[in-house]
Amino acid sequence: MVTPARVPAALDRPLLVVVGGGGVGKTTLAAALGVQSALAGKRTLVMTFDPSLRLKDALGVGEAARDRGVRVPLDAPGTLDASLLDAKATFDRLVSKYAPDPAAADRIFRNRFYRDLAGTLAGILEYMAMERLFEARAEGAHDRIILDTPPTRQALDFLQAPDRIVDFLDSRAVKMALDPIWERDPRSMSLPARLAARAGMEMADRTLGRRFLEDLVEFVRAFNPLFDGFRDRAEEVRRLLRDEGTLFLLVAGPGPDRIPDAMFFLRKLKEAGHRLGPLVVNQVHPPVENPRAGSPDLHPGLRLLAHLGSRDQEGLRQIRDLLPGPGSVLELPAQPRPPSDLPSLAALARAMLIQLDN
């Protein structure tokens, strides 16, 4: 008998955000959850940053997914679309879409700051991912979106990106850039204001160079027509991330030395008002019953496996102590081979979700 696929109530939400450090298997788990969700009859979208070739192959999606969602060939009652997040492409599209006219868009595209530095602007990459999420939600073509995120430290930046953009847009620096003192008619200012402005300008000129300021001002100005739209959407994304239909899944590596990081991140998420799902401890090595495990003449490979086994079991024990309660910690074993096709992804999701049924 085949039991119909289902997603346990604890994870049955319209938006799942998968977060965690580098190399813990977030992207693979996001894809696995996507497959399971489609098998359970949902129209599902997986948004991911930088999937491996193996995973792209497993999902059967290529570079075309950079622009918009690509349908994964899956025999299921629901559907699965996969889309790859590309910050620069999203940024470009946004500029074209919201600029009041093509000339304004062109001004932005030609600005040196935009060309060379858009990618390094504080928070902009993260913010662009939020924009994509917003677009996808607005289209309304999916019952469930599973969002993969960049590694933990950047993930904090990532989640704060909407707040920071709103802050920045409201800042005096932006207002000043829109009304530079050196372009103001000096006769309209009082003498002390004029002197102060001149001293300030001279200092800025000496340290930064006039061109830097002019380029920056031009950049901010060129963006100005887009700002209102930015602010509104940033506000909505902020709300969405704290909505009760949104659940955060933290994926962590096993081993006691990973615990402080995981607990830190859980606390930060909670403080920021997000809803937390179970903690997924991934790549747990099995305990090794070897009476000679500690002996120095044991082959280094076997000694290593014994070490990894006891290390991971100890880490798991500690994390279960810290997060008691059924369904608060899910564990996944270290696999000899990473999942490389749809059935193995589905199996991975089942191995995880079955722990929520007990």
Binding site: G23, L53, D116, T120, R153, R172, R211, G253, G301, L304
Partner: protein, 291 residues
């Protein structure tokens, strides 16, 4: 040729690579190796979540310089603190310096100006190599952010030099960019694992850094290799975790080797937790690597 030969006259070693591949441990081991060879070394960590101190068994730095052995120090460096320190240097009156650093315009400029924070962190490391700091060190090992952010970090001074051309900031950035691009003084180390994504990211990073025409990679270090399978091992083990892992690692290592012909060091996965014993062991092995 050995790692110590390669780094003989370099003043700055930048360690980057994919997240979760043991960058901090590698940076600590390099620091230990250099200090052990008699070169006074400062290992600089940029991640605000400190972990470098664990690899060397000392207290967290919290921004201060902490001694971690004979001729070895560590320091956690945050851009904000560096920039405020610079303002205090330029504006010796504390009241005015505070007025500047606390003003919203300044804070937003620091947060928003592209490449500024990155340049400040690199600038801090640069000045340390010039003996501007106590203790006087000969070489700085920079435990840099992961690949993507590491590449932006390395590209920042050149971009800022271009953007702020004609100002003092531009001049400082240009000097720094020239220093980074000088292979006689700077070396970039890429840490990676012999797994698909880390190798992919390493190859992409090599390409990015190559095409940027800036700093060049001096060495790639493959971490956490499973030991080769002995011939007399049970078939069951050969097919299982160890055997599969090792096969996958050999394949990925070959893929890396195809594209990277420069120096490559290999470090085994050891039955030791992160800490001073592991760091010492890895430092010894790095020192013994030859090519």
């Amino acid at each position: 040729m050995s790692v110590l030969d390669l780094l003989a006259r370099r003043r700055l070693v930048v360690v980057t690579g994919k997240g979760g591949t043991g960058k901090s441990t590698l940076a600590a081991a390099l620091g230990r190796l250099l200090a052990g060879a008699g070169r006074k070394t400062l290992v600089v960590e940029v991640d605000p979540r400190e972990s470098l101190h664990q690899a060397l068994g000392v207290e967290p730095s919290g921004g201060e310089v902490v001694q971690a052995g004979e001729g070895l120090w560590i320091q956690n460096v945050q851009a904000q603190a560096v920039i405020e320190g610079l303002v205090r240097e330029k504006v010796p009156v504390p009241f005015f310096a505070r007025k500047i650093t606390e003003s919203p315009a300044f804070r937003h400029f620091v947060a928003g100006a592209p490449g500024f924070k990155e340049t400040a962190v690199l600038g801090h490391a640069y000045r340390a190599t010039r003996g501007h700091r106590t203790p006087r060190v000969e070489v700085v090992v920079l435990d840099a952010p992961a690949s993507g952010h590491g590449a932006s970090l390395l590209a920042a001074p050149a971009l800022l030099a271009l953007a702020a051309e004609g100002g003092q900031l531009g001049e400082v950035a240009a000097e720094l960019a020239a220093f980074l691009a000088d292979p006689a003084q700077c070396a970039i180390f890429l840490g990676t694992l012999a797994e698909e994504m880390p190798v992919q990211e390493t190859l992409e990073l090599l390409e990015t850094l190559d095409s940027a025409g800036g700093p060049r990679v001096a060495m790639v270090c493959v971490n956490a290799l499973f030991p080769p399978l002995p011939a007399d091992l049970l078939e069951a083990v050969r097919q299982d975790l160890w055997g599969e892992r090792r096969r996958l690692q050999e394949r990925e290592r070959a893929r890396l080797r195809d594209r990277w012909e420069g120096p490559l060091a290999e470090l085994p996965l050891l039955p030791l937790d992160r800490g001073p014993a592991l760091t010492r062991d890895l430092a010894t092995r790095l020192g013994e690597a030859r090519w």
